[in-house]
Structure formats: C-alpha cells, structure tokens
C-alpha cells in the first residue's frame, strides 16, 4: 500500500514551528544587535550582564528553595495518595480520586485566584510560605498520577514473597516496595520540581509584595526589561530543561 506523504509533511512543519522561535532566541542571545533584526556579530556580553545582575541570583535562589520544599511535600503526599488509590476500592477512594484529578483539569488561573481568596479570607499574609503551600497543592496531583501509572505494573506478589521469607511489613516496604518504585517516584518528584520552578500564574497570585521568583522576574523583564538579557536567560533555561528531560527519560526507561 502506498502511504500518503501528507502526515510526514505536517509533522515536519510542526517540528519547524516548534523549534523556529527557539532557534531565533538562542541565536539572538549571542547577537550583538539589541533587537535581533540583523546580525551584528557574536558576543557574550548579554550573558556577562545577566550573570552580573544580583536580582537574577536572588530570584533563582528563591525559586530553588520553593521548588525543593514543594517537591518534598508533594512527593510524600502524592506517593501516599497513589498507594491509597491503587490498593483500595471504596467510596472514600472515589472521592479521593476526584480530589486528586480535579486540579489537573482546572485552569491555573482559577487555582491561583481561589488560593489568593482563601488566604485573604483567612487573613494570612502572602509570602514565600503561601507560594510553597500553593505549589504543593498543584504538584500533588501530578506526582500521584505518575506514581499511580508505575504502581499499575507493580507486582505485589514480591511483597508477599518477602513476607513469607520473614520480612516485617516495614522491612518489606523499605527494602522491596520503595527500591522497585524509586524510579517512578523520582520521575514524579522531577516533574513536581520542574513544574514548581516554571510556574508563573499560580505564583503570581499567591506571592506577596516584594516576593520574587525566577518566573516572576522573567515576566517583569518581558514587560519592562531588556530583550537580549531574556534571550540569554532563556537559552540557559533551555539547556537546563533539555538536560532534565533527558535525565527523566533515562529514569523512566530504567523503571520499565
């Protein structure tokens, strides 16, 4: 049967569409011209300026602290949620599933504004703490879904075998279940970390005055700042993302 070339042409066009702006951005980060309309020669000056600016390092530090806390919190809650959803069938789990699933299908802006109103109604001052609480809340669902997917292939008879050989429930959990699920849990944690580092909308709504994270900083740079510096920052972030994706693919492959 002769195959149509149309799907190939569309796929190629889609990939070009995906990467064209990214390539323009990366090339421009090395361009001496301010707006990138023409090539004025190779330069590293934007990177030098960027790395010399204390705001960026401050924002980066905040972003990582928030992301680490949000990752730890959401990985613990998401993993226990996945175990509960996988092991039990009950009314409680039906409601639990709905609760875990709903934040995934709700626009970010609604999560953001609902948390803002919640904190305002309680009289809680917006700060880094409210950002972490918000990040844990939306990351739990993603971790739970990733770990749940891994649990579906998990062979519980291994736990039975360990216990037949004399392992206590806790030893079985620690020495059998966790090592086997570690790649899945790590993939979930990595996803939570990336989502937290990248989040703008929910952070924007739950951040107090004077609070800053990297996405908040990038946003205000896009609104008021110098384009070449954002080009340089974006290129660095792209390099980081590509490495993370590659790493997570390796983790998932090992899990299989």
């Amino acid at each position: 049967m002769k195959r149509s070339v149309t799907p190939f042409v569309i796929t190629a066009a889609v990939l070009a569409f995906f990467y064209l702006p990214i390539v323009v951005l990366v090339v421009n980060s090395f361009n001496a011209s301010r707006f990138g309309g023409e090539w004025n020669g190779f330069t590293l000056q934007w990177y030098r300026k960027l790395l010399a600016s204390p705001d960026i390092w401050h924002a980066l530090g905040n972003t990582f602290t928030i992301a680490v806390l949000a990752t730890v919190g959401s990985t613990v809650l998401g993993t226990t949620a996945a175990f509960a959803l996988d092991r039990y069938r009950s009314r409680l789990q039906d409601a639990h599933y709905l609760l875990v699933y709903a934040p995934l299908v709700i626009p970010e802006i609604l999560l953001g504004i609902s948390l803002l109103l919640f904190f305002v109604a309680l009289g809680v001052e917006l700060s880094y703490v409210t950002i972490v609480l918000a990040h844990v809340t939306f990351c739990v669902s993603y971790v739970a879904m990733v770990v749940l997917g891994r649990l579906q292939d998990f062979d519980w008879s291994l736990v039975e075998a360990a216990q037949d050989l004399g392992a206590s429930p806790w030893v079985a959990a620690r020495d059998v279940v966790l090592p086997l699920l570690a790649p899945g849990i790590a993939a979930g944690a990595l996803l939570a970390f990336t989502l937290s580092v990248d989040d703008f909308v929910i952070t924007f709504f739950t951040a107090g005055p004077g609070t800053t994270t990297l996405p908040l900083r990038i946003y205000s740079m896009i609104k008021h700042g110098s384009p070449p510096l954002i080009n340089a920052l974006s290129t660095l972030l792209l390099a980081l993302t590509t490495t993370t994706v590659w790493l997570s693919q390796r983790l998932l492959k090992e899990a299989r």
């Binding site: 609760l99 626009p107 970010e108 609604l110 109103l117 384009p227």
Partner: protein, 291 residues
C-alpha cells in the same frame, strides 16, 4: 483484589488516604467554594471584601463589555483547539507509523518544548514577531505586510501563540492513542476500496476517539483560562476572561468582582468537561454493543 498481609491492609486505608485527602480539601475544595461565596459579597473601598451579602457583584457581569470578552475567549479557545487537533492528529499518525528506532527521538522532540519554560516559549514569539525582528523584516520585504503594520498585540498573535503553547499537549495523548491503534484496520479498509483520506476519516479517527477527546480537553480548558498569552502578545482588542480576572485582582483590587468572573470561567470550563465525559460514556456503550 488480593490483600497483602501486614502491608497496606484495610485498616491502614485512612492513614494512607488522609494526608493527601485533607490537604486537597483544605487547599483545593475550600478555596474553590470561597470563589463562589465571594461572588455574592460586596467589595470594600480598601480592596478587601465587604460585610453582608449582595447580588450586585453578579449583576455587574451584565456590563456590556463582558459578553464581548466571554465570546472572544470562547472563539479564540475553540479555534485554538481545532487548529491543534488538525495539526496534532496527522503528526501523531506519522509518529505511530514511523520506524520504531525514530520514535523515541520524535517523542523527545515533542516533549522538549512541552517542558520548556512557558514564559520563554511566549517570549520567543515576541522576539520573532517583534517590529524590528526577523519575520517582520522578511514579510515587509516581500510586501506581505505594510512596513508600519504590527505582527503583535492583536487576536491573530494571541491565536498563533496559543496554538504554539498548547500543541505539544494535544500531540502527546493523540500519539498514545495512535500507538495502540491496529494499523492493519486501515490496510483492510484500503483493500476494501476506501481511498486514503476516507480510510483515515472513517477508520483511524474513530479508532483514536479517546485520544481525540483527551486532546480536545487538555487544549480547550487551558486555552479558556489563558491569561499570560493575551497579556504578553495581545492588546486591548484581544483581552480574554483571564486578563479581566487579573485586572480586577491586581489593578482595581476588586476581589468580589474577580470572584464573579472566575465563577463564570469555571462554568465555561465545566460545560465542555461534562459534555466530554457524557460523550465518552456513550461512546463506550455503543462500542460495547457492536460485535
């Protein structure tokens, strides 16, 4: 289901369920309920929430500005979704049929933009579409756009960038569905005389309908709630509901008004979701009836 002795017995269920359950009730369900409650509250002059209850806030949604914004939000989102499906379906089809060794590379090529900073991806288009940028120069040189025209700050730019940001989310579920599709069915259809397009339309598309439904929802729902894209590449004539919610929250500091608009957005999201769930249930039932 087999019970595992000692580990995760029935009696452990509450202990392992409650942490995430309570967390989400407190920080997801209660805040969602508060949005609807505050829509019935008056605002106070200090940017807070006033005392008592009122229908005045909801009534102010009747302001002639809002139907236009709601309508624009809906049409931009629907066109974005349709464009994503039209581009994503052939891409997913190609990815599922290409030689096995190319697939991981293609999947990676789709995932990298999916994981790339959302703001960076929008900013990249701002660079490309910039009045002094490369695309504008090229199009102006070809006399396709007037030299003083703008590629930014209108609904066209918003649409383009929305498709760009949502497309990876549409491709992944469609690829997952297409990978499970039995392509011998397409060959059978062709052997029975169907043309390639007809076979694609009446055999392949129904075969991946679950993927199509998922792709529609994961594109449509975030598009309806979009705020950053119209904020950064759109202008005053391309504002969406999300922009108004942010304006009421941050510029005017009228939280009850922002709540009322959020409740409206929640309804706009709920309608297609409920429709999709009903459709998928019905689809499953008719699939079961067929031999």
């Amino acid at each position: 289901m087999a019970e595992t002795r000692g580990l995760l017995e029935r009696r452990h269920e509450p202990w392992i369920t409650l942490p995430s359950f309570l967390w989400l009730v407190v920080l997801f369900t209660i805040p969602a309920a508060i949005v609807f409650a505050i829509a019935f509250k008056p605002s106070d002059p200090f940017g807070g929430i006033g005392a008592g209850w009122t229908l005045h806030t909801l009534a102010s949604l009747g302001d002639p500005n809002y139907p236009a914004i709601l309508w624009r939000t809906v049409w931009l989102s629907v066109v974005t979704t349709v464009a994503c499906l039209v581009l994503a379906t052939p891409t997913a089809y190609y990815m599922a049929r290409v030689a096995q060794r190319w697939r991981p590379l293609l999947v990676l090529a789709i995932i990298v933009p999916f994981w790339t900073s959302f703001l960076v991806r929008i900013f990249a288009w701002k660079v490309v579409l910039h009045p002094e940028g490369p695309l504008k120069h090229a199009l102006a040189a070809l006399h396709l756009v007037p030299a003083d025209g703008s590629l930014l700050y209108h609904s066209g730019a918003v649409l383009l960038v929305l498709v760009y940001t949502e497309l990876p989310f549409a491709i992944l579920p469609l690829y997952a569905a297409a990978e499970k599709f039995d392509f011998r069915l397409l060959e059978a259809a062709r052997d029975l005389g169907a043309g390639p397009f007809r076979a694609f339309w009446i055999v392949f598309l129904p075969g991946i309908r679950r993927g199509l439904l998922t792709a529609t929802l994961v594109t449509l729902i975030p598009a309806l709630g979009s705020y950053v894209v119209p904020d950064l590449v759109g202008g005053p004539t391309s504002e969406m509901l999300g922009n108004k919610i942010a304006q009421r929250t941050f510029s005017d500091r009228n939280l009850p008004h922002a709540s009322a608009l959020s409740a409206l957005l929640a309804l706009a999201v709920l309608v297609p979701s409920v429709l999709a769930i009903t459709l998928s249930r019905r689809g499953d039932r008719s699939a079961q009836v067929k031999p």
